[in-house]
């Protein structure tokens, strides 16, 4: 029913123009990878590792897997559905996509969080000055 509605154009074509979306996704994926790599050059070692790992996964997901899905090269996984090709392939690609995209966002988010230093305390509190009292004077 929904697929019948999708073909009548109108508002729905705005979001998902069939030919443009894969190109858009490829450009975005490559660009994300490039920027994350440049950002990682100026940050600490673990931050850079997380950022680049996340960006690699996301870049792979957005530049390779998602366009293949959008272009219809890979069949979408539908629970209990029937496929033109082999069902195992559809399931396997579904798994790959889920793992890659979600792990990618998680690692990238963690890396950016560490880059923005939301996980570390802002500044060490100035230590209370060790005040030097004169030794107690004897009260006379």
């Amino acid at each position: 029913m929904r697929s019948a509605e999708m073909s009548d154009g109108g508002f729905s074509t705005l979001g998902s123009i069939a030919a443009v979306r894969p190109v858009f996704l490829i450009v975005m994926g490559v660009f994300l990878l490039l920027i994350a790599w440049r950002l990682a050059k100026t940050s600490g070692i673990w931050t850079a590792r997380l950022l680049v790992a996340g960006a690699l996964l996301l870049g792979f997901g957005y530049a390779v897997i998602m366009p293949l899905f959008e272009a219809g090269v890979i069949e979408r996984y539908a629970p209990g559905g029937h496929y033109h090709g082999s069902a195992a392939t559809a399931v396997a690609w579904h798994l790959v996509r889920m793992v890659v995209m979600n792990t990618g966002w998680l690692l990238f988010g963690l890396g950016l969080a560490m880059h923005a230093k939301i996980l570390s305390s802002p500044a060490p509190r100035p230590r209370a000055q060790a005040r030097s009292f004169p030794p107690h004077e004897s009260i006379t």
């Binding site: 999708m6 979001g15 979306r21 858009f24 996704l25 950002l39 979600n102 792990t103 969080a113 923005a116």
Partner: protein, 113 residues
């Protein structure tokens, strides 16, 4: 089907939760960047993260409440919205995140020079 596949298929929500946590962290980091550095990229990144989160939230939840009655009651424009809006939000959100990241990176570059 081997057991690993079953685990992942039956607990897909777990993986979606990982992605949502990551996007939440991304949004937090973006807000922090925007507040502490006054870099405009942070704002754009935060908006992108919110858009992607909204679309993802809808995509995860929609199988639980969308059925023929609901579709019938919201009419053709509503149905077009449910089909057209999530991809639009995903695209705009991704573009916002990438653009914001680019802006932040360039701002950082200018700052260091």
């Amino acid at each position: 089907m081997n057991p690993l596949h079953e685990i992942i298929l039956n607990h897909g929500l777990l993986f979606d939760a990982l992605g949502v946590i990551g996007l939440g962290l991304l949004g937090l980091a973006a807000v922090k960047l925007a507040r502490s550095h006054q870099s405009w990229g942070g704002n754009l990144m935060a908006m992108g993260a919110i858009a992607v989160l909204l679309a993802r939230f809808y995509l995860v939840l929609s199988p639980y409440f969308i059925n023929d009655d609901v579709l019938h009651s919201i009419g053709p424009i509503g149905i077009s919205l449910t089909i057209g809006l999530p991809p639009l939000l995903l695209s705009l959100g991704l573009a916002g995140i990438v653009w914001g990241l680019w802006g932040h990176e360039r701002w950082l570059h200018d700052e260091n020079r």
